[in-house]
Symmetry: C2
Amino acid sequence: MKKLLERLKFDEKGLIPVIIQDVDSGEVLMLAYMNEEAFIMTMETGKTHFWSRSREKLWLKGEESGNYQQVEDVYFDCDADTLLIKVRQVRGACHKGYWSCFYRQMKKEGEVKIVGKKVFEPKKVYGPKETIEKTYQILEKKKKRK
Amino acid sequence: MKKLLERLKFDEKGLIPVIIQDVDSGEVLMLAYMNEEAFIMTMETGKTHFWSRSREKLWLKGEESGNYQQVEDVYFDCDADTLLIKVRQVRGACHKGYWSCFYRQMKKEGEVKIVGKKVFEPKKVYGPKETIEKTYQILEKKKKRK
């Protein structure tokens, strides 16, 4: 893992942007950020983990909604400052209920059009805080065991 | 254009990350950054423009190599802090001569494998500075006319 980490350039905040792409359709699902820990957790568990810049914490994608991303392939770019990860997405990637976070198109004339597929109802899948806490406790225990 | 700019959240440096995707194959080609000016130039000319963080200047993709990107569709994400642009790529996107900048794959075991397609010889396409200057002069003139 150290060998891979050494290949990557994290920015001044210790983060690297990560493009998430659906392995089957090639659709771009989202962009998020990883710190070193999130990268290690992703590679070791096979599920994407990110650093939430707004909540300032490590975040297992799907921890609350169950909408996990199973890692298939990991790529990095010529400057080694961006990752591209192909995943199998459970249910939908966007917390607004769309398959992809890029569900809105911009037209030159100033118009914005919703073009994405709505695949779930956010209110129904973002559950109680306890679920998240439990998931985290399990992950933390696993980490300590290593 | 103002209406579109108002929808986007540029970061504390005035930048927004932009994912560039091949409109035909769906292959992710690169990630780069735009400031407001680069966004306007992209929308108005139909060719991608970025802000080069290393050179600290506006940059027309392909200005030196001729490897332009013709804009087809523009999307933005749920948080309005990332753009996704589908393009028709001339020759290849990566300055190292590959079709995509994500030409290297990371294996869990620490191995890095070149999986991308080499499509041109960088030495042959990155030409004299004069070409770039000329392109810019034309664009600047166009801007002033508006």
